[in-house]
Symmetry: C2
Subunit: 102 residues, 2 copies
């Protein structure tokens, strides 16, 4: 195939696709997203359930929020997080499914 005959992805698309996968490439983030796909959670609950430090969870939530994959809701002293991107959750669940039933 000649160079001109290829269908190319634009640099921006490639960058955004890789960013999407990068978000999902960390075990802690996967656990957080999967947990949040089951229920809205506050930070300490996530930390306890997943056995990750409060600080690490908070850092990852800030990261996930910056990509609009989760959203936050305050209620008193507590902040509840939940998923905010159905497509990314679908992508995650599909991949889990595929790997579980190799």
């Amino acid at each position: 195939m000649r160079k001109d005959d290829h269908h190319f992805l634009s640099e921006e698309i490639v960058e955004e696709v890789s960013r999407t996968f990068k978000v999902l490439s960390d075990p802690t983030r996967i656990k957080i997203l999967y947990l949040l796909s089951q229920e809205e959670c506050n930070v300490n609950h996530i930390a306890e359930v997943l056995d990750v430090s409060q600080s690490a969870v908070s850092h990852q939530l800030a990261f996930l929020k910056s990509y609009r994959l989760v959203k936050a809701r305050r209620q008193g002293k507590t902040i509840y997080y939940s998923c905010d991107d159905e497509h990314v959750i679908d992508l995650l669940k599909m991949t889990i499914d595929h790997i579980e039933h190799d």
Copy 2:
């Protein structure tokens, strides 16, 4: 939800899911896989078409091969690579599609 009531992912599943996404989280690997999803290519062709050094391409191909995402076929001095994991290509194309039609 009580800790015991959650559906948990095993550590092995989480690790494998994150590895899968990690493979797809690099722009060069995305370009290579997308190119190989269109046609079987030799190493130099990939390097030229994508404007990446021969060495970088070869390193990434070795990486992709170690995860069995691509396979190699020798013909004389030339080695032709092609995709060897339909599911990962599907995952990639779905994500490209989603981002292109945000």
